[in-house]
Symmetry: C2
Subunit: 481 residues, 2 copies
């Protein structure tokens, strides 16, 4: 009767990651498909996680002096195409508004794929003097990129949510200092909330954002061994300042171009989170992002329903001040059905309450991440729950770090590169001369690109694995989403 | 040199409200115009206020079980037009995406003017059983309504931000109970954060939302005596459930249509806030929404700059844990210039620190709302500042209530109605039979519509002022934005 929902994932994560990923997202109620291809519906569990990420990041932004703004969704075509050299990559993906009501517009309006053009036009108007700097504005908004590749929820969605930070400084030194601030904020939210590690590095010239002097990224590894780019930071130097005429009178009364940065974290991270922590039972949501952290399931026997229910309600009342807790007292569902459903939805902790628990002053607590069951005393329950949620977070992070580390392999020759790629995949760290030709040769022959050049370079071989000339960097190569 | 910005408002609020309103918004840096007509740029002070409003409302929503989701920005034409009887009002205002990249779409996609159509299609798929109810989903997003009337920032903007709540219940009773919850949440945020009162009431049949059984609104009075609709709540009964086939198996195994509500608060409230509290010196932002609550301005005399600056920095450090405080130690600007600038920007409190303050252990504190200056002891400064900010909030709210009350006039005859409208304007409360003919006659002859029928009906005359038949309601009539 009530138990007619599909609560199991048929695909195995290790065998068919892509099918598993889609099933987990849809069957757990994390997202749903929409009527527009490549665009998804964020259900409460997904949106709660994103809302929490935005709150945490926004607070950190504000601490370092970044302020939020909101610019228009629509950008006139002329403005968007003004700097086509920087934005040509976006043009084929733009959704165009050509009519409003029954009226054809004189000029097409683009739904923002990113907001540099519209923001920097304003910047050039607002910034006059060194006194107006730094100007560190951010936006939390939705953007559209009508990609024609195969859409994958979160990973490649035509509409996504993000922050776009756009800051302006009087000096290069200040603009460079912001890089470490921002990458630290992103790294921290990934670690402390999403329980995700990443490799911080610089993009190669070939892979960097067209408008940037240097691009930086945090790169993830997905369960299938492919890399995926996470949050990024672009040091734009004076490129946009010159293109958009953002200049100011410095302290000596001379006109100078400003230095700019751009940076973003997107809802793509929710996809990485699901892919990394989920298992064959469904979602596993890190406790700090879970809209339900603890679910209490009462287990009735004949004649004890009223007592057990009262006991469970009492516990619910006790815990709800400290945790996001749900009492699942739905009728018509068996405890086993409820266990499956909350496991599928990735709730970090389940508390079972039945006859035994009532009489023993202990409750049975089950961890979603390990499946481990333990009896915990009712005394100091909040403290125990809090400690357990902390442990779950640490375990998820540690496992993700181990997975990442075990999927990064150092090589010093192209033969080893090929062997590792074939047998193991993942990210391959190799000495590289820094020349585009060698980068493209590997890309063409192996299908791997440079994900980034890790900031932490460690020791690396002296010769480029392609041309054998002196190596300049240890670069990370991978098949990449 | 540095002091070349326009820091004054030339128009007088009492004489030319509309010009004053635009000057205040633009010159204070609250908003800027964008390249797209009728769409504005929210600058940090405006966005901070909106962000605070969303946080407060969202927290209250969550407390009563409303969850956030995010649905797509774009809605296929077929879907939007499916229920044209309910949405015909929106169709002429829709912005249409017809091309993506260089490809013409097979079907036009509407930028959401509101999301009923796309959400309810999903609802009809998700809702199967009484167990799936209530379903109380909300979205915080941007919507576009390409109105062709004269745009006014916040009040009539083509793109605006809002919450759209869309809840579904199994019973009419539950759906009706939500009305009071939501109107209480909106009333509370208006009062406690925006320092704004409003008149809660039901819309007339003629003015209600086409899809609703009954619409409710909180109506504001603007400084020019015109009314402006604030947050609203629509009890949709089973109208949309029938249109979108949202039905469920009830506990007895019978199929039943669900009951629905929709509700919204929008960035329009920022306009009401500015209009209501601002004065001829500029913005006055209620303390709980001010991104800078306190500004410290050091006043230097020859030789004491280092000491005064250190003193000001010390105070800044002391206060910043409790308040959003800015130390304005910019060089090259006179104290007078700074005073004007922060007054224009509406910062609630200014602290002046100079020679006298340093030696006396008192600081000069100036209230933005009243201009009142007072010496306050350095001891327990945080406590004093906190109390003062509270007083400012209360004063703003009290003044707004008085203004509202003094602009609501009860009449019992059409002659008095005409007289009041001509001599005083504002909202006129009059007995009304409830018939559309009388409502439209007044509208045609006087240019006033029924803003709403206050929930608090009080005592009112027994005869409709138009037809002299038995009155059914005391209705509020006004010229309305």
């Amino acid at each position: 009767m009530a138990e007619d929902k599909v609560l199991s994932i048929e695909a195995k994560k290790a065998e068919n990651f892509s099918e598993w990923y889609n099933q987990v997202l849809l069957r757990s109620g994390f997202i749903d498909q929409s009527d527009v291809s490549g665009v998804l519906v964020f259900l409460p569990s997904a949106y709660f996680a994103w809302q929490t990420i935005t709150s945490v990041v926004d607070l950190e932004f504000k601490k370092i002096g970044i302020e939020d703004t909101y610019f228009p969704l629509l950008i006139p075509e002329k403005l968007l195409k003004k700097e086509s050299e920087h934005f040509e990559g976006f043009i084929p993906e733009v959704a165009w508004v050509t009519e409003t009501g029954n009226t054809k517009l004189d000029e097409r309006l683009a739904i923002r794929p990113t907001s540099e053009t519209i923001m920097y036009k304003s910047y050039s108007k607002w910034i006059r003097s060194w006194r107006d700097l730094p100007l560190r504005y951010n936006q939390w908004n939705n953007v559209l990129r009508w990609e024609f590749k195969h859409p994958t929820p979160f990973i490649r969605s035509r509409e996504f949510l993000w922050n776009e930070g756009h800051s302006v400084f009087a000096t290069e030194g200040e603009s460079l200092a912001e890089r470490d601030q921002i990458l630290a904020i992103y790294t921290n939210v990934l670690k402390e909330y999403l329980a995700l590690p990443g490799i911080i590095g610089m993009k190669s010239e070939n892979e960097k954002f067209a408008g940037a002097v240097a691009s930086y990224s945090i790169e993830h590894i997905m369960p299938d061994g492919w890399a995926l780019q996470g949050p990024d930071f672009h040091n734009d130097g004076q490129n946009f300042a010159k293109a958009f005429d953002i200049k100011f009178l410095d302290k000596d009364g001379k006109t100078a171009y400003a230095y700019q940065n751009t940076f973003a974290i997107t809802t793509r991270e929710l996809g990485v989170m699901v892919a990394t922590h989920g298992d064959d039972k469904g979602l596993v949501i890190p406790p700090r992002l879970a809209c339900i952290q603890v679910v209490i399931v009462p287990i009735y026997k004949k004649g004890n329903q009223a007592d057990v229910k009262a006991f469970a309600e009492h516990m619910h009342a006790e815990l709800r001040g400290n945790f996001r807790v749900r009492l699942d007292d739905r009728e018509g569902y068996s405890p086993g059905f409820k266990f499956n459903e909350w496991e599928l939805k990735g709730v970090p902790l389940r508390i079972e309450i039945g006859e035994k628990e009532m009489s023993s002053n202990n409750v049975m607590v089950v961890r979603r991440d390990t499946g481990e069951k333990q009896l915990i005393s009712n005394k100091d329950l909040s403290k125990s729950i809090s400690a357990l949620l902390g442990k779950i977070h640490e375990n998820l992070y540690d496992k993700a770090v181990k997975f990442l580390e075990s999927h990064v392999t150092k090589v010093n020759s192209y033969d080893d590169f090929k062997k590792v790629l074939k047998e193991k995949g993942g990210i391959i760290t190799a000495p590289w001369c820094g020349d585009k030709e060698c980068e493209l040769k590997i890309k063409e022959e192996m299908g791997t690109k440079i994900t980034n050049i890790p900031l932490d370079q460690g020791k690396f071989g002296t010769k480029c694995i392609i041309c054998a000339k002196k190596s300049k960097y240890a670069a990370n190569f991978a098949r990449s989403y």
